[in-house]
């Protein structure tokens, strides 16, 4: 789960990482009240999970209540690359002497934690990484040992952070690492991490991705589950606990396993069709999950045919077949369903469907055949 900046800063605050004083709101009046209480000048920042909001006019400086009102009115409801701004973050404006970059993530090839620190932070960090990789001090951290203060103190020197910033930065990095590990982040990133003329180091932005697999031990994450998606299909899928991503095509896709679901998209594309979605019903999918998946796809008016591609492993194909029939009893599915069923209990599953087959419920022997059939129906 990607967090909005304000949520990331709230999460940072739990780990005692210094951020600018501020608060989030969805109303203009409240924005003014927040600005009045923290003191001017303030920055009004659009909360969207997409880059380039500054260039789009989503970040504005305000010296007084009138300006806050003007900017808040403009920014709320603004469309930034297809993301509507529902929430703004108001924070005390900071004087900036230097901009750094800091992050922790998983180093997948080496199976260690990877810290990245640079004295050249800011919007151009990707260019820096490309043109002068040595400007980023990489730190490989053994997940068992973790990051200790002496190592962090050496690291800030290696990264050539300004001397007056080093002590505070080292301490902040220890806290950010705690946030990354104990906070179960896939990514904890600060860009820019700033040094103020007064000699203080704090986070001016927050980019946090939480590992959904760890949500069972973080009840506090529930509060972050707001405005996660604009797509009504995705909202519905989320409510039903499905792993769904909306696309623009006409063939609805249901598959088990992310790999097979991706492959199904590929094959539909190769035979001349377009997928309406990615939907992985996962391992252990049962009748209820299948019914929920069909309902979500059925809600998509662009869908002209549905391709159900199941290769049973943990998922048992007879359960899938029952789910399809169960869903057909509960809701009227508008589009024809083409099924390809193989794997665990496939024989039983096909037998369950056999008496119900008609021109709206079709089985095909192979993945490629089924893709062609579904695409043919969708393009007809």
């Amino acid at each position: 789960m990607d967090l909005f900046e304000y949520q990331g800063k709230q999460y940072f605050a739990r780990y005692d990482i210094p951020v600018s004083p501020g608060d989030a709101t969805d109303s203009v009046d409240e924005a003014v009240a927040i600005a009045d209480s923290i003191g001017y000048p303030v920055v009004v920042k659009a909360q969207v999970k997409v880059g380039g909001r500054g260039k789009a006019g989503g970040i504005q400086l305000a010296d007084n209540a009138e300006e806050v009102r003007k900017h808040a009115t403009n920014i709320l409801g603004m469309d930034i690359k297809g993301h509507i701004v529902h929430i703004i973050w108001i924070e005390r404006s900071s004087d900036i002497k230097k901009e750094y970059y800091a992050s922790f993530t998983l180093d997948r090839p080496n199976k260690k934690h990877l810290g990245m620190l640079s004295a050249q932070g800011g919007v151009e960090i990707e260019v820096v990484a490309e043109e002068d990789p040595t400007a980023i001090a990489l730190l490989s951290i053994d997940p068992i040992k973790g990051l200790d203060l002496p190592t962090a103190q050496q690291w800030v020197k290696d990264a050539k952070l300004d001397e007056e910033a080093q002590a505070q930065a080292a301490e902040l990095l220890i806290k950010l690492y705690r946030c990354y590990t104990e906070g179960d982040c896939d990514l904890a990133e600060i860009n820019p991490l700033i040094l103020t003329p007064q000699g203080n180091v704090h986070a001016l932005d927050a980019k946090v991705t939480l590992d959904e697999n760890a949500s069972y031990r973080h009840p506090e994450w529930e509060a972050f589950r707001v405005n996660e998606t604009e797509d009504p299909r995705e909202k519905m899928a989320k409510e039903k606990g499905l792993n769904y991503i909306g696309l623009d095509g006409t063939v609805g896709i249901i598959a088990n396993g992310a790999g097979l679901a991706m492959s199904t998209l590929d094959v539909v594309n190769q035979v001349g069709g377009t997928a309406a979605n990615f939907l992985d019903i996962g391992g252990g999918a049962n009748a209820d999950v299948m019914a929920a998946a069909l309902e979500v796809i059925n809600s998509d008016p662009k869908v002209k045919a549905i391709f159900v591609n199941i290769f049973g492993g943990i998922t048992r194909v007879d359960e899938v077949a029952k789910g399809v029939l169960g869903a057909l009893e509960k809701v009227t599915i508008n589009s024809p369903i083409v099924l390809r069923l193989d794997g665990t209990n496939a024989v039983e599953g096909r037998a369950i469907l056999l008496p119900h087959l008609n021109d709206k419920l079709i089985t095909e022997p192979t993945m490629l055949d089924a893709a062609r059939k579904a695409v043919g129906l969708a393009n007809a």
């Binding site: 990607d2 970059y101 992050s103 922790f104 993530t105 998983l106 180093d107 997948r108 090839p109 199976k111 260690k112 990877l114 990245m116 960090i125 990707e126 990484a129 053994d142 997940p143 068992i144 590990t181 179960d184 896939d186 990514l187 990133e189 860009n191 980019k207 991705t209 590992d211 697999n213 760890a214 069972y216 991503i245 696309l247 598959a255 088990n256 396993g257 992310a258 790999g259 097979l260 991706m262 492959s263 998209l265 590929d266 094959v267 594309n269 190769q270 997928a275 990615f278 996962g282 391992g283 252990g284 290769f311 049973g312 492993g313 943990i314 193989d342 794997g343 665990t344 993945m367 490629l368």
Partner: protein
Amino acid sequence: MSIFVDENTKVIVQGLTGGQGRFHGLRNRDYGTKVVGGVTPGKGGTDVDGIPVFNSVKEAVDATGATASFVSVPPKFAAAAIMEAAEGGITFIVCITEGIPAQDEAVTYNRLKQEFPNVRLLGPNCPGIISPGKCNIGITSGDIALPGGPVGIVSRSGTLTYQALHELSQQGIGQTTCVGIGGDPVPGTNFIDCLKAFNDDPETKAVMMIGEIGGSEEENAAEWIKANMTKPVVSYIAGVTAPPGRKMGHAGAIISGSKGTAQAKMDALREAGVHVCQNPTEAGEKMVEIVRAL
């Protein structure tokens, strides 16, 4: 020959008394796998369809001489179960559990490497391993595999592993071993581990490698293949048309550069002399062609 397991491998199932553990553990036994015990704390002394259940891995290993474990427990308990297996004397651990936090996986992986360098972990979040006709540990449906070789399969995706087996078996092409390494960020066993083993296995004549978008395991495998592999490799990478996944912010872009896309992976593999195919069926057909020409 097979890699990692064979007909003599004795297996215990951690979580045998649970729904999934029971279903797949019994299926593995029905396939002919030597499933010699189960482990569920507090249920020692009972049995599951004649398979004795023990309170701990240590007890199970002492009583049965098992060397492999099939871990089928919920995500919360999986990391502890893996470590218990290693501490109890198991040397090959297959963990099918989906949904283990990445932080737990990273710690577990490194603890195993440091404290138990001779233990191999397969998974987590993988379908397991099957050496057709000999041993099946995990959730693969045994009837889609065909004994006798000569193809070795290694795959990152569960269901595409079955698809690969199916494509070959349908054409009468058997498999020496099929390894599902799983798609989690910290896999215990990677492509290169399997490619090495297949390269050294005299009965494996060709290898099918199924990858997917994300990470850089396929690119690393391509480098290894180019330098070391003596057998033909056919590959399929899922996700050419996949919607862009979760953005990992600047950090992701910095680590991976252009790596991670299906195109980058296919280019790297092609450059290494691998036969890269556009879909699982095409990969199956290519492999049939190669095997028939051997």
